[in-house]
Symmetry: C2
Subunit: 471 residues, 2 copies
């Protein structure tokens, strides 16, 4: 076993544990250029599953995919004042191409609002062209000073939705619709507990009126921003002249949204469910849901393994047979590290008895099922694993969330997990949480409990927020 495959226990060093899981499960590795990554086949297969589900859901909401260019003139980013302020420190700049120095430097997209709006200004003429719902699956570059695989990588893969609407209300509703879609996806597919809400002024997207966010609860009590949806108002519309003629023939600026999730979700998955033995994956997103390990290369055993695999494939279970010339022990160990939800061992006894042993990755529990009845038995267990992982994640978030009415309580509580409390709305309090507690306001929640006082300064609270440390 190479050193890459040793997994540091969570309790010992959480950050190292994360890196070890990513390496041991074969998800990704560092590229030669610092901050960039190579997504390995197993990690990419998770991304493909995420893409497939989300792409179908986007299309069901009337979104069409398109593709916008990687490079744009540096001047484009500058058209929306806050946008450039936010992104300038992170962009990569192309100054030479085709053997020559360029007249104007080009930037690699850190996000595509600028280029998309230059295009939307041509595509949108009349109210008949609205709403316009476009998404793209693409790579972006944001120069990272402290890169971490998946969590903060200089290049990442993502989807970015861009929509234009005739009214402010419709655009705001779209931003909220996509936020709900992300939260539902996190819950139903990634089995991940999340809190949703609005970002504070200082944390919102550069150029947005309102940023809605999905904050996922990680095992160490930290938050991970798992997806954002922005109500852009008319900021980009005005900067790029995106106008339409309304029903009365009057020129109006459009109202817009943008929303995205990225390969960061793979990092979230790792931290939400995995244990000291390796990755744990929710069945609905796992590239391999069932691994069948024949305990020897005996023909009858291998044939039986393949027959079971065929039966499961017909029932739409993603299954593989590990026929490599290797002892069962190391195979079990490897698939455990890769987080395959269910393992089926097949030996002479199983062939003889017509009964199979099913070992769950999440609990380690074993059960048996008749070979003739294997598909429904497997599906039932996979559903149960999916459900258990979500329940565990929800439980963890519930147990890990406390309340704070004052600074001493907040100071202690933020070390353990999410903290719900009041906020006066002043940036100085937010700044104090950052500088003194190494935490932040993750989101402003609505519809929940109201707090009388700001947990930082004690003056009357305007908002209920989640304070936490974050990735």
């Amino acid at each position: 076993m190479s050193k890459n495959e040793t997994i540091t226990p969570r309790g010992e060093d959480y950050a190292q544990w994360y890196q070890d899981i990513v390496a041991a499960a074969g998800l990704a590795e560092h590229a030669p250029v610092r901050g960039l990554m190579v997504i390995k086949p197993y990690g990419y297969a998770i991304w493909e599953n995420i893409q497939k589900v989300l792409d179908g859901q986007f299309k069901a909401t009337g979104t069409a995919n398109a593709y916008f260019p990687l490079l744009m003139p540096e001047s484009y980013l500058k058209k929306e004042a806050k946008h450039i302020e936010g992104f300038a420190p992170e962009v990569a700049v192309v100054t030479h191409a085709g053997g020559k120095k360029l007249d104007e430097p080009l930037v690699i997209r850190p996000t595509s609002e600028a280029i998309v709006n230059e295009v939307f200004a041509r595509w949108i003429q009349s109210y008949r062209d609205l709403p316009l719902n476009i998404n793209q699956w693409a790579n972006v570059i944001r120069w990272e000073l402290r890169p971490r695989l998946f969590l903060r990588s200089t290049e990442f893969l993502w989807q970015e939705g861009h929509t234009a609407h005739a009214s402010s209300e419709e655009a705001r509703a779209k931003a909220q619709e996509m936020l709900e879609l992300y939260a539902k996806f996190a819950r139903e597919y990634l089995a991940m507990a999340t809190v949703t809400g609005e970002k504070s002024e200082s944390e919102k997207f550069a150029g947005a009126e309102t940023t809605f966010t999905v904050e996922a609860y990680m095992q160490d009590g930290k938050a991970l921003q798992a997806g954002t949806s922005h109500f852009l108002g008319q900021n980009f519309a005005k900067a790029f002249g995106v106008k339409y003629l309304d029903g009365q023939g009057k020129e109006q600026y459009v109202w817009q949204t943008s929303w995205g999730v990225s390969t960061r979700l793979i990092g979230a998955l790792v931290m939400a469910h995995s244990d000291d033995k390796g990755l744990v994956l929710p069945p609905r997103i796992a590239p391999v849901q069932v691994i069948i390990v024949p305990v020897s290369s005996d023909t009858g055993i291998v044939e039986q393994a393949e027959k079971v695999a065929e039966t499961l494939t017909k029932s739409d279970v993603r299954v593989e047979v590990d026929k490599r010339d290797e002892r069962p022990g190391p195979k079990f160990f490897e698939w455990e590290k890769k987080g395959v939800p269910l393992r089926i061992e097949i030996g002479p006894r199983e062939v003889h008895d017509g009964e199979l042993t099913l070992a769950r990755r999440d609990t380690g529990n074993k059960s048996t099922a008749k070979t003739d009845d294997i598909a429904p038995a497997v599906k039932k267990i996979l559903d149960d694993i999916q459900h258990s992982l979500l329940t565990a994640s929800l439980h963890r978030m519930k147990e890990g969330t406390s309340e704070a009415d004052d600074w001493p309580t907040l100071t202690l509580a933020i070390k353990k997990g999410f903290v719900e409390g009041g906020w006066c709305g002043n940036e100085s309090c937010e700044e104090k949480v950052k500088s003194e507690l190494k935490g932040s306001i993750r989101c402003i929640t609505t519809g929940g409990k109201k707090y009388a006082k700001c947990a930082v300064c004690g003056i009357p609270a305007k908002f209920t927020v989640i304070y936490a440390r974050a990735y």
Copy 2:
């Protein structure tokens, strides 16, 4: 109708006709940075269909997807001498990032052999790790001096397969397998006539031992390189130290291939089938296979249109109902320009008679089908259109291919289409075809007719080749 929507007849100006089709069908448009493009939703939907089919076929050959970084140190490209010689004039260079000048400039991948092999050197240790079959779907940048949408764009989307094998024979066979896969895909899905063969020394991929190519026949008699598959030998393996321990514990360099097709295929599709009225798409790759146009907004008519659409959707036909508030004439015109294979009009008579009129895009022919029997009738016509387009393309290539035994014949024939003839194998003759005839040797064919003399210089021929002008 905006000026973008006028289509110049092919006979008048073929290049302008191509641009007009791309604009009128809503496939793509120029980005602000010269040479880059915006792929519009309808064009991107064609790409998604191409991706879906090819991705499934790659996976069926045991290929897994992964993702390699966009940026690599400039020095990487230089490790394989011929590779850098070929690509240096085309790369885009990042010199600044994160607000600072970089210590070493980074290049945006023009192709990923260099970075992939840096990674393969780590992934491959033993013969047990072979063969390694990896593919990535990605964007690349190659600075184009004479850009054209889809055909030659500075940024394009593609897939690039990279494989490593224990023997030269196995790698060569893989390169040929993928070439056949591309040719079959062109035939069965794109309905496109192609010739396959090897590139000459001067035309092969920078760093390859052998480049195999699929050359498609366009309506104006020119060739379009629609896909290439390279046998790389050990060139990159030696440059990057990609070695494995064989069964005897001896260190060996791997043998490799790489292969790719790109969004260029969309340009090929346009030029292979379209006419002066607009785009013509083969049903198997068309985003919308059937468009249903209700002739009025009368409730009974719209309901019937939706019922028919539902029936077709259940039979896996990609169908849309055009319910926009617009007269039928402009709708017919628009869908004709977009190349939707089949149109169904529904008016009061159709509702009353229980019979529908089906209008084919390729021939303009109309037929009728009972509403109750619509799905099989539609499927039969779609199959027939698919078959007809391929037959027409094959016929066009056959009629457009002539033979040449000498220079005067070649000179005349190359103006009309493909020319089969002998080649002595000397680069000077190849150069003469380029400089004097504005053509090139598209590929060296095997298994066909043998020619006694080089069509350029008259000395004994070593090879049978296809001479043609090309995109």
